[in-house]
């Protein structure tokens, strides 16, 4: 595959079917912010299969525990949010930065543009960072975010969610997404949720209640696994092996 001066590297799968379209009229702000020209195919070369190697030096002492970033504890339901980051080949993605941000328990963000009449919490910033362990696992302690209104359509409310940002090990794997909670009654009117065309794909944004991880007299728990794009070539690896790797 390589010429005298050439360097061929394995690329990543293209997973367009999973993602929402950039032009989605139900979410009004997309109208002037989506390209109208067709996208140009970018072959995966060295710049695309690499990405920054970010270490523990990016983390502060309490970045993994959003309930311990102030003198007192925030209001709200304390929850553990944890899971595994894998690629679509089933391989864990170890040592990768996971960044989250969220509203407080009342549905208010600590942001100058968020002015709806819900209280701020002096003990909650709503920002967390961790690096996945050798098995691709991450774990945060936080409070369950509230729903909040926005102006996309009349009486619009965002379902409770936590924003997630992931790097993976390649530029192609970069992903910003949102984690939702099971049985939220607001999905039916939420264009963000509905922008994902495939219903099964929407469900991959849902955490599940995880009783085994709850801590008695302390915290409820949710598990959310995140799957980033894997390589184009399938490794010779059985589904069983992948599942065994899980716990």
């Amino acid at each position: 595959m390589s010429t005298d001066s050439g360097l061929h590297v394995p690329g990543y799968v293209r997973d367009h079917d999973t993602h929402p379209p950039l032009d989605y009229p139900g979410y009004k702000s997309t109208a002037l912010r989506h390209p109208k020209r067709p996208l140009t195919l970018l072959p995966h070369m060295l710049t695309e299969i690499t990405s920054p190697v970010l270490g523990q030096d990016r983390l502060g002492a309490h970045d993994h525990d959003l309930t311990r970033q102030h003198d007192d504890e925030p209001q709200g339901q304390r929850i553990i949010v944890h899971g595994q980051v894998r690629d679509s080949d089933g391989r864990p993605v170890p040592h990768t930065l996971v960044e989250i941000w969220q509203a407080n328990a009342a549905g208010r963000y600590l942001h100058t543009s968020d002015n709806w009449p819900a209280p701020l919490d002096p003990n909650f910033t709503g920002v967390g960072r961790v690096i996945t362990d050798a098995g691709g696992r991450y774990r945060f302690v936080t409070v369950r975010p509230g729903a909040y209104p926005w102006k996309n359509h009349r009486n619009a409310w965002r379902p409770a969610h936590i924003h997630f940002s992931l790097f993976g090990r390649a530029f192609t794997q970069r992903l910003v997404t949102q984690m939702y909670f099971p049985d939220d009654p607001l999905f039916f009117q939420d264009p963000m949720w509905q922008s994902v065309p495939d219903e099964k794909a929407r469900e991959r944004m849902l955490a599940r209640f995880d009783h085994d991880t709850t801590e008695p007299e302390w915290a409820l728990a949710y598990r959310w696994d995140i799957v980033l794009r894997g390589h184009e070539q399938t490794p010779f690896e059985s589904e069983e092996e992948v599942l065994e790797d899980d716990e």
Partner: protein
Amino acid sequence: MSTHPTTPAQTVGPYLHIGLPWPDGPFAVAEGTPGAVWLRGTVHDGAGAIVTDALVETWQADPEGRFDHPDDPRGARSLPGFRGFGRCPTDASGSYGILTLKPGPVPGPTGDQAPHVDISVFARGMLHRVVTRLYFPEEEAANAADPVLGSIADPAARATLVARREEDGYRLDIRLQGENETVFFDI
């Protein structure tokens, strides 16, 4: 064929500023680094208005075209003080700025690629990132031979990826839609 379906993207929303910017985000190298250049630009929407709530990220090789990454078949090579990655939210004037070193040429499957910087743009109103590249105006010969630029037939479209030289660096404005819309990539 992959066995596990991937997790969908969602927008960064209007409150990305609480979670994503880093104090050192714009500095892929520290201020005062010899040879450092600013990559600057303004992000515009389809009406030509500035976009003040976007986040621009850059990823690139070092001045010798190397990456500090295990998947580079030539071996990982770190250049102390150089992160290769920049992250900057757009400000009240819709502008971003990343201080970095100009990358060297990077090998591709059919020969060298011209020096380039991969760029991701995230914003409220964008359900997924868009990806583009920045190329350097003084690299005329390398740009002419670059496989990615060469795959864009329309010279005006190609030109949207070539930065303009400025006093202390380069400028690449990003137009998300409309006249002179930036070329974005299917990545």
